[in-house]
Amino acid sequence: MKHMISIADLSREEAIAVLATAEHMAQTQSRSIRKLPTLVGTTVVNLFFEDSTRTRISFEAAAKRLSADVINFSAKGSSVSKGESLKDTALTLQAMGADAVVVRSGSSGAAHLLAHAGWIDQPIVNAGDGAHEHPTQALLDTFTLRRHLRPGEPEAGLDGAHVVIVGDVLHSRVARSNVLLLTLLGARVTLVAPPALVPVGASAWPCEITYDLDEALGQGPDAVMMLRVQRERMVGGGFFPTAGEYSRRYGLSTARAAALPEHTRVMHPGPMNRGFEIAGDVADGPRSVIVEQVSSGVFVRMAVLYHLLATDSREDAR
């Protein structure tokens, strides 16, 4: 593994290896001294063209717990917002001696471009690119889910599990990465969305697609993953008439959650629109693993940085 750009680049073995490393990282984090010396002397740059404090902090914590130095390079107030191109920024980071670049961008393909355009040689981690992919989010979702569905099995996949993903699939990089990773690990995925929020062409994806949330929930899935409705991306408008109508048909209400089997877990990548796509008491309720997803994020990102940067890991890979 040279980069972490897209789940589509991963084999099942590679995905399992990252998840197993993340389990290992999680164990080290329960000790009193949590900082590992693994990446002493390396510099990880967080290059964020899009505001996302939670993702940036998660990557920063992951890098620091592996003893890497972290430089945050964010769009606001930097040359990036003054029209400097991705290319110039990449050349700068290369010259500065960054050892890895974690990039978040509103442009689909930005991470791929950084990895392959020849501007910079270092490993690139995709922290979300447009509506394309968010591979570490999918890894942390899978990691969280696996802990509940396959406890104590760090080498297991999710074979036979059923996951329902609900909401704004069209604008969601989280949905795209999760469909790929969950199915790679053997899970069955059902997407639920109003028709205008299902991408034209999604029928080729390895999952079922339905417009009926209650029908999907009636199948008794092992997990329900609610997506954030990205109203800020809805140029052209008219994807659904009102928030109320959306909420009634596609929101995870208290009543809908109560009808789910006891073992069903509720997930959300955050930040949540409480009371819109998910009821507040469901988000905070006993079947919710939303807070746990946040802590999983740090372990998974430690694992990804370890696989891309640690000398012993790279030698293992050879």
Binding site: S108, H132, V200
Partner: protein, 434 residues
């Protein structure tokens, strides 16, 4: 200008068919026949096995001047045209300032004349500033020294149906044609690539086929209603081919063009997020590629036009959604047509003469272009050797820009000779300074 030399082209295959000699003298084709006697002082060039065609005519070229000189100028763009085998290009109006007045179109025509590489026919804007709000002074451009006959807001669509109707009606009085860039602006807000399986995976905003097809359908009906001729730029979808076929069956005076890149490339190319593949209209699916090839072969699509759209490197070295749309094409067009159509026996070389020279000249009302290879025609001639292959390298192209989507591809055919008004502009692929 120096007087045209006397040239005897020996043994070329006229229209790729029968071998004959061609004597060029005084800027005209003086004689066609076998075993022609070389007059005193004539240069004899052996073109045995090469295809002889009337010089190519491009109805859709972006020369970028005035205003976009970092991408291309009339000088560099017409050099590129000559290398591609063209003896005339129609320069699109989306310059800065817009080519929407007699003054600007005359300036462009004059620049073409003084460059001397090929005939430059300016296209006039349909609406002032391409803003789609009110008609530009079309008659003034038509009666200017540039004698504009093709009008287009290319890059933008004349989407207001009333304005489109009025434009179609208005140009009838001077035998003009509206060349429509068919793209519904509302259906393509923020659109980045063809809407389908690939856009769904890549998370790029979709550019639906219907945004093109709905405008073409409306326009052929408008053209029929007011009895005007309509030209459809760069159609790219199977549905568009069907609509044009339907319109022609009803006798509607519509002509249509396809670009070389839409004859070859598909949206699969977008997977690497390399913005050289970003173009308007977008690359479509393999089924669309098959349909436009079929439409070109059966005459539904009248012509191949390049939509040569040069851009400086930093307009392309960017994230996909921030990169400029467009591809260079003048210097690769005939190779692409040879490989996608002629080598697959979907078009003959005589058909190539029709779709890349005669018909575009007729649509653009270029009297001196696309004329038969016979005595008395102007000496606008291309000699093309279909046998060698070349690996595309934009660094050796005459265009100022490097944004060729064919970079690194091995393509068939080589320009042996371009003759513009009797002057050799290109010999064995190299420009010949005048």
């Amino acid at each position: 200008m120096t007087t045209a030399p006397t040239l005897l082209l020996r043994g070329g295959l006229l229209y790729g068919e029968t071998a004959a000699d061609l004597l060029l003298e005084g800027g005209e084709i003086a004689a066609v026949g076998t075993d022609l006697e070389a007059p005193a002082g004539a240069e004899v060039i052996d073109v045995d096995g090469c295809v002889v065609l009337p010089g190519l005519v491009d109805l859709h070229t972006h020369l970028r001047e005035p205003g976009g000189e970092e991408a291309e100028t009339v000088e560099t763009g017409t050099r590129a045209a000559a290398r591609g085998g063209y003896t005339a290009v129609h320069a699109m109006a989306n310059t800065t300032p817009t080519a929407d007045t007699a003054g600007v179109v005359e300036q462009i025509a004059r620049a073409g004349e003084s460059a001397g590489w090929c005939t430059v026919r300016p296209v006039g804007a349909v609406t002032v500033g391409l803003a789609g709000e009110r008609l530009a002074e079309l008659d003034a451009m038509a009666s200017s020294r540039a004698r504009v006959r093709v009008f287009s807001d290319d890059g933008k669509c004349v989407h207001d149906p009333v304005l489109m109707r009025r434009a179609l009606e208005y140009v009838k009085s001077f035998d003009g044609v509206i060349a429509q860039h068919a793209q519904d602006p509302r259906l393509t807000e923020g659109a980045q690539m063809h809407e389908g399986e690939v856009s769904a995976q890549l998370g790029l905003a979709g550019w639906p086929a219907v945004a093109e097809e709905s405008v073409i359908a409306r326009d052929v009906l408008l053209a029929h209603h007011v009895g005007s001729r309509l030209h459809v730029c760069h159609l790219s979808t199977a549905g568009s081919v069907d609509i044009i076929r339907w319109a022609k069956q009803r006798g509607i005076a519509v002509t249509a063009e396809v670009t070389p890149h839409h004859l070859l490339l598909t949206d699969e190319s977008v997977r690497g997020f390399d913005a050289r593949y970003k173009v308007n209209p977008p690359l479509r699916t393999q089924a669309d590629v098959e349909a436009v090839r079929e439409g070109l072969a059966d005459g539904t699509i009248d012509i191949v036009a390049t939509d040569h759209a040069p851009h400086p490197a930093d307009a392309k070295d960017r994230e996909w959604d921030q990169a400029a749309m467009g591809m260079t094409g003048l210097e690769t067009a005939l190779s692409i047509v040879q490989s996608t159509m002629v080598d697959r026996e979907a078009l003959s070389w005589r058909d190539v003469a029709r779709v890349m020279s005669e018909t575009p000249a007729r649509i653009g009302r270029d009297e001196d272009q696309g004329r038969p290879l016979e005595a008395g025609s102007p000496a606008n001639v291309l000699v093309w050797d279909p046998r060698p292959t070349t690996v595309v390298d934009p660094a050796v192209h005459a265009s100022r820009s490097m944004n060729s989507p064919f970079t690194g591809r091995e393509l068939p055919g080589r320009n042996r000779l371009t003759v513009h008004r009797g002057r050799v502009t290109v010999r064995d692929g190299a420009l010949v300074e005048g």
